[in-house]
Symmetry: C2
């Protein structure tokens, strides 16, 4: 007979109310503005005592790891099958940009953050769950003739990220509305990576 369900093995957050989410939300906001903010600042921004903050996240690393995991999960869920599996690569990339822009906006913290810890299996798995379908989509587009096959998939992936960042920044700077930024980002990406583009000089 398994141990009763109410015996939690790990320290486990005390309350089941939304406190953990509240802390996480505030932490994302504060660390997004000031990555080197102290636990005290995060606690204050969460409307919570520092001790309570440590009750939920026993370490600073724990906290940023939780943020990272949530961000990665959100990305993974934003890339649901109905987003990725459109008829054309163009439609799929259009949906991808639309789905990823809000997530990147939310997790501004991570935009300039060091790469996820590849030695953490959970993070590693999530990173792959996010990257692989996008790389697959790019390769599919190249095989299908919609995208220029001369771009290494990783390069194209990087351009996707760059365009998303640029769109985010332009929205944040008030240069474009989010609604307008989307088609512009789609246009820049698809034309930039699309087939039938200008010739590439053999080697400059």
């Amino acid at each position: 007979m398994p141990p009763p369900a109410d015996i939690t093995v790990s320290p486990a957050p005390p309350a089941a109310d939304g406190t953990e989410e509240r802390i996480l939300d505030a932490a994302i906001r504060v660390l997004g503005e000031t990555p080197e903010a102290s636990m005290q600042e995060v606690a204050t921004a969460s409307g919570v005592g520092r001790a309570t903050l440590y009750r939920y996240f026993s370490t600073r690393d724990d906290l940023v790891r939780a943020i990272r995991l949530r961000a990665l999960r959100d990305c993974r869920e934003a890339l649901a099958p109905d987003v990725l599996e459109r008829g054309s690569t163009r439609e799929a990339l259009e949906a991808v940009i639309g789905a990823l822009l809000p997530v990147l906006d939310r997790y501004r913290v991570l935009i300039d953050a060091p790469l996820p810890d590849r030695s953490d299996p959970e993070q590693r798995a999530l990173v792959e769950a996010v990257e692989r379908p996008l790389l697959d989509l790019i390769r599919r587009g190249q095989d299908g003739g919609e995208l220029d096959p001369r771009f290494p998939a990783g390069f194209a992936f990087g351009v996707l990220g760059g365009v998303l960042r640029a769109a985010r920044a332009a929205i944040a700077a008030g240069e474009v509305s989010p609604e307008r930024a989307h088609p512009l980002a789609v246009r820049a990406l698809l034309a930039g990576l699309g087939a039938n583009g200008p010739e590439v000089p053999p080697c400059s």
Copy 2:
């Protein structure tokens, strides 16, 4: 009567040999890999004692500011008139990418670093000296019909940065050779922002 000229007001670096440059080079390398590296680590990497490091840069902020200034100056010099003032926007952007890629590679530190301190007049002036000609080039290309005028200049500038980052990353990952990355980056940028691209849906 003013104090004699040989009484230096500021602490002023002791030696005129290449020590300061050596320190700066090492600091760029170390802080590029580990932005939170301590002064001790920087000193060790420079082959210099910590005390000597402080003799040249009296503060950690002093050091990173010096790095930033040098990076900005390098960028400014990379964007010399003969680079920017080509016949076509295409040629100019091609030259810009070629000139900026090595600089971005060198100052990897700053790629993910917080924005330069706008309250520091020297940094502010340099940032503008780098950004303005690029924004002007973009606008000129839009006016001349080479670039799609629907992109706000800041957005286009962001895409340029994103493509450069993607190219840098792809080179670092060994996905493309630097020689191959250049034409690909040019192609992605010019097709992405160029006129005669695919239609932009009015509002998606």
